[in-house]
Amino acid sequence: EDKVVQSPLSLVVHEGDTVTLNCSYEVTNFRSLLWYKQEKKAPTFLFMLTSSGIEKKSGRLSSILDKKELFSILNITATQTGDSAIYLCATYTGTASKLTFGTGTRLQVTL
């Protein structure tokens, strides 16, 4: 069975800190890994990663995939209170038309 594991489960940091969120996976026929930010209910898309070692960047957020070690990290620099949310990692595989999600990391950024 496909498995996606995120760590830590929750994290509290001060505004301005840098955080690293982890996602490891064990899936059959891996195609891509996606990061979503979930505030209230709707997950919003952040990144899709398909190739190892190529960093994707959007403002203060960046992410990279390691297909040999089967993990990805999401970095957030100079955190702001608006970054407080649940960050979800998910994988697409070639065998099933669905995303398999981890349980998420709950990030709280305090003043």
Partner: protein, 116 residues
Amino acid sequence: GAGVSQSPRYKVAKRGQDVALRCDPISGHVSLFWYQQALGQGPEFLTYFQNEAQLDKSGLPSDRFFAERPEGSVSTLKIQRTQQEDSAVYLCASSRSRGSMNTEAFFGQGTRLTVV
């Protein structure tokens, strides 16, 4: 529309009642997915449509759950004889690609179902 739209946003049902949850995907999106998200968990796959065809319903937890997308756009998830364990947020997502090709899925705001 501009994004995926779900209704109602909140639904309280008495145990044993039937409910119907609606999803309006992004116009032109071929793929539509339903997910169930329990409190403190990541979304769990329920079912997948490619246009009007339901290609994967392996995640539906029981035969009380039924989904349709008759014209390949709007979809309805129906839960019959609701039970307390059905309480969750039901998320709909759509994407422009077929299945697991490499494009992102966009999610709606979800419907929070509470069964009392």
